[in-house]
């Protein structure tokens, strides 16, 4: 081993930190440009949606469990259940589905 693990960690941490900190410290105040404002308004929803689907289907062992968790989560969120409740519901759905799948297969 010619490289030091601590140096590797340091390099990785520095790059991660710079990426995270730069925009927050450089962009001070509200951006006036309407396009950029609109763009940044939509960014979080696109990012979160893209990260959720289809990853939620691939995360559990049984894809059907992921699909049911997604549907349950959407219905629960639409009805106004809070964040922790929705997360717990999704976990519960996957756990029960996989237990049932294990029982029948």
């Amino acid at each position: 081993m010619t490289h030091n693990i601590y140096l590797y960690i340091l390099v990785a941490a520095s790059v991660s930190c710079l990426i995270r900190v730069f925009p927050l410290t450089l962009i001070r105040g509200k951006i006036k440009n309407q396009f950029i404002r609109s763009f940044l308004y939509y960014v979080p929803y696109v990012t979160l949606a893209v990260m959720t689907f289809p990853a939620i289907i691939d995360a559990p062992q049984v894809p059907l469990a992921g699909i049911l968790a997604l549907v349950t989560g959407i219905i629960a969120a639409w009805k106004g259940i809070n964040m922790i409740g929705i997360a717990a519901l999704c976990c519960g759905v996957v756990f029960i589905c996989e237990a049932a799948a294990g029982f029948f297969i």
Binding site: A12, I19, P44, Y45, I74
Partner: protein
């Protein structure tokens, strides 16, 4: 002062499910870290400083390959580039007078999930909310990695599998109510789901990292909607909602 304290407590409360999900995911990350030759403390340190699932996975593969440091810098830049966009978006949630210390600390603490719950807050963002979430979520992530290195497979597979969707449940809790309140956001979410599914199915994109795909889709879809449906100014509403928060 009292509002900061309440924001901190709210941050811890919302950070608990994140920490649980993190613990399970970090556990499996620890198994990879062990293969790359990291000890428990090194895994803990890496997770405390980096706190990025895909990013750290890439980090450990670079260590395993004994590749040059410059390659590490490049790989981390590519896998974590989405945090640049998140940081831009968060800058608009801050009060313009927020001090540089708060900006540095909140920036350091950005993860997919902490970003998600911060965006879910109405009005301007109180940094103490993020500190609360970081105070519980980051140790969850770091200890998960360290214990994964030490203990390998302690948790039953069924539990890890169930916990793996907790994070997505939280994302759903943010995007769906926003879609209900604003039809355009609903269209954004549907377009994003479809685009993401398409990209994951096309072999052409297989060589692209997940973070790269996320960043690319974010720029394209958010850009298209920003051109088609520019948002109107509503800073007055934001201020009003902010004052009702954390009190």
């Amino acid at each position: 002062m009292n509002r900061n304290k309440n924001a901190f407590i709210n941050g811890i409360r919302d950070g608990i499910p994140i920490a649980l999900g993190y613990f399970a995911v970090a556990f499996s990350l620890g198994i990879v870290a062990k293969k790359a030759g990291l000890g428990p403390f090194q895994g803990f340190l890496s997770s405390m400083l980096n706190h990025a699932s895909a990013g750290e996975y890439a980090e450990f593969t670079v260590i395993m390959a004994d590749a040059p440091y410059i390659e590490m810098a490049f790989v981390i830049l590519v896998t974590n580039i989405r945090y640049l966009l998140m940081s831009c978006a968060l800058s608009q949630k801050f009060d313009p007078d927020t001090s540089i210390i708060h900006r540095l600390l909140v920036g350091f603490g950005i993860t997919d999930e902490i970003f998600g719950i911060s965006i879910g807050r109405t009005g301007t963002l109180n940094p103490y909310y993020n500190y609360g979430a970081m105070a519980i979520a980051l140790p969850g992530w770091s200890f998960g990695t360290a214990i994964g290195i030490i203990a390998g497979n302690i948790l039953p597979v069924s539990v890890v599998s169930a916990l793996s969707v907790a994070l997505y449940g939280m994302f759903i809790a943010i995007i769906i109510p926003a879609s209900r309140a604003d039809k355009i956001v609903g269209a954004v979410v549907i377009a994003s789901f479809l685009a993401s599914l398409t990209v994951s199915e096309i072999a052409l994109f297989d060589s692209m990292s997940d973070s790269m795909k996320i960043s690319l889709l974010t720029v394209l879809i958010a850009g298209a909607f920003a051109i088609l449906f520019p948002v109107k100014d509503n800073e007055e509403d934001l201020k009003k909602e902010a004052s009702e928060h954390d009190t």
